[in-house]
């Protein structure tokens, strides 16, 4: 299977502006900004979390604790024969108890990743609340989950894929809408 790029949703400039807006929204909604902490979902959500924290610090003048969460061990498809995700380390070096946690991910799709993240977070302690910030919401939820902060809503079909590329992992900042194209010889998918 290959991916064919259809359109660019965000470039470097518009991604920076979008993150800036999300940071402002988070500051606006959380009056007690000193109580918040940011936890990004690995991989790309973790980098977005670090960026958001830096922006919030600039806006509100408060240093926000940042962590990174690996949700592999909480996935609901682990028992399926086809999946064998690599386990990465979770890095949360502060107590999340009583904090307002801003959970950050790149794309919100079925909601299953967020379900895993909620379970994982609660194993670390009892936050006073958990809010969700995503760069792209592409719809097709399979669980009753919604985001509190959305960078961009992108209606998609199930054949499409949202590719989020970040300078930290991919060398440049952009979000691209792609279409899955079956290669000759592919069966199913």
């Amino acid at each position: 299977m290959t991916l064919k790029e259809k359109s660019k949703i965000l470039d470097e400039n518009s991604m920076a502006k979008t993150l800036e807006r999300l940071a402002h929204e988070i500051v606006e909604k959380n009056k007690a900004i000193g109580d918040i902490a940011i936890i990004g979902i690995k991989n790309r959500g973790a980098y977005l979390g670090v960026r958001l924290a830096a922006k919030i610090e600039k806006i509100a003048g408060v240093k926000v604790p940042v962590g990174a969460l690996d949700i592999t061990l909480y996935r609901d498809d682990l028992t399926e024969a086809s999946s064998q995700p690599v386990v990465h380390a979770t890095e949360i070096d502060f107590d999340i108890g009583g904090k307002s946690i801003i959970l950050v991910d790149d794309v919100l799709y079925t909601g299953r990743t967020i379900r895993c993240a909620l379970d994982a977070l609660i194993d670390f302690g009892r936050p006073s609340q958990i809010q969700l910030a995503v760069l792209v919401d592409r719809g097709h939820r399979e669980l009753p989950i919604r985001a509190d902060y959305v960078g961009k809503n992108v209606p998609t079909s199930l054949k499409e894929v949202i590719e989020v590329r970040l300078s930290e992992t991919d060398g440049k900042d952009e979000v691209v809408l792609c279409e899955k194209k079956a290669d000759v010889g592919d069966i199913g998918t």
Binding site: N43, D70, T72, L73, Y74, L78, T79, A81, S82, S83, Q84, V86, V87, H88, A89, T90, E91, D119, A120, D123, F124, G125
Partner: protein, 314 residues
């Protein structure tokens, strides 16, 4: 954050001899991630929820069995321990029949320790359940070597190019064999050191340097792995007395003075203080013996996770 592209495809973990460099690196990477879980307040993740692990031990073991049991429990698996005195082996049941009976109980993973080399290989061929070798005869003890390697890697940052000396009863040691396989595959330079009668014939074909002089083994080494002298078993025939052994081969603070200052001292336990090493060394600043125990749980969690989710292995 290194992305690992290797996918685990093996049904079983029988020994490091059978693994590629990349597979060993995947286990170590996964284990490093699991270390974090063992530092949490709630030391449990749901990755093996609904799976059952049997510890099938044909040889007495407290530390390895406890470590495997904790690892499985921290992954939310259910664990059953079968010890041999209490089992039907005494009534004449064969290993394969025992394995098939365990499988009929819908067990997912069998962790086996056996006094016969190769027993886990036979069991693995006979059952669909995953088989993890927890030590077989003089053959292999893969999870011990993996935890030694994880400890070295987290202490020294790398394995490639490290000079590691394994000192003690090489002939009767599955720990030595697994370490030699693993370390040489990952590019470490391995020296083995023992009294002449405890060096097996042809060991140099495994790609190691051989010496009978402990000071030579210590010189320039980044790390040493000191093995247990089993005087209660085979060692007594090969060496006259414990005191004599300590004099000639025991690791003492005096001997370490001529080594690299930050040499890492490992021991798979249980230690014979005053035989393989002095208490001063065992409890000293170079010793990582207790870190090895902690890392053992992370390594066993990684192994159980990987074999349970092996891709394409049915």
């Amino acid at each position: 954050m290194a992305e690992k592209k290797t996918v685990w495809t093996k049904k079983d973990l029988l020994g490091l001899e059978y693994l590629s460099k990349e597979e060993i690196e995947l286990i170590l990477y996964t284990a490093a991630s699991f270390k974090e879980v063992t530092t949490r307040q709630i030391k449990k993740v749901p990755a093996l929820r609904g799976k059952t692990v049997v510890n099938l031990f044909y040889e007495p073991s407290t530390r390895t069995r406890t470590s495997f049991e904790l690892a499985a429990k921290r992954l939310s698996a259910d664990v059953i321990n079968i010890e041999i005195e209490a089992s039907s082996v005494k009534k004449g049941e064969t290993l394969i029949d025992t394995g098939r009976n365990i499988e009929a109980l819908k067990i997912d993973i069998i962790v086996v320790r056996h006094n016969a080399s190769g027993a886990p290989n036979i069991l693995a061929r006979s059952v669909k359940a995953r088989v993890v070798n927890a030590g077989d005869g003089w053959h292999e003890h893969p999870t011990q070597a993996l935890l030694d390697m994880l400890t070295l890697k987290s202490k020294l940052g790398r394995l490639e190019g490290l000079k590691v000396s394994i000192i003690g009863d090489i002939a009767h040691s599955r720990v030595a064999r697994s370490n030699i396989w693993g370390l040489t595959k990952l590019g470490a330079e391995v020296t083995v050191c023992a009294p002449p009668l405890l060096i097996p014939d042809g060991i140099e074909r495994m790609g190691v340097r051989v010496t009978t002089d402990v000071d030579e083994a210590l010189k320039g080494a980044d790390a040493i792995n000191v093995l247990r002298m089993q005087f209660e078993r085979d060692g007594a025939l090969a060496f006259p007395s414990k005191l004599e052994y300590f004099k000639q081969y025991g690791i003492t603070a005096e001997r370490l003075k001529n080594c690299k200052k930050d040499i890492v001292v490992m021991h798979p336990g249980p230690i014979n203080r005053g035989v393989e090493m002095s208490s001063e060394v065992a409890d000293g600043k170079n010793s990582v013996i207790l870190e090895q125990v902690t890392n053992g749980i992370a390594v066993r969690m990684a192994v159980l996770y990987l074999v349970a989710h092996a891709k394409g292995a049915e």
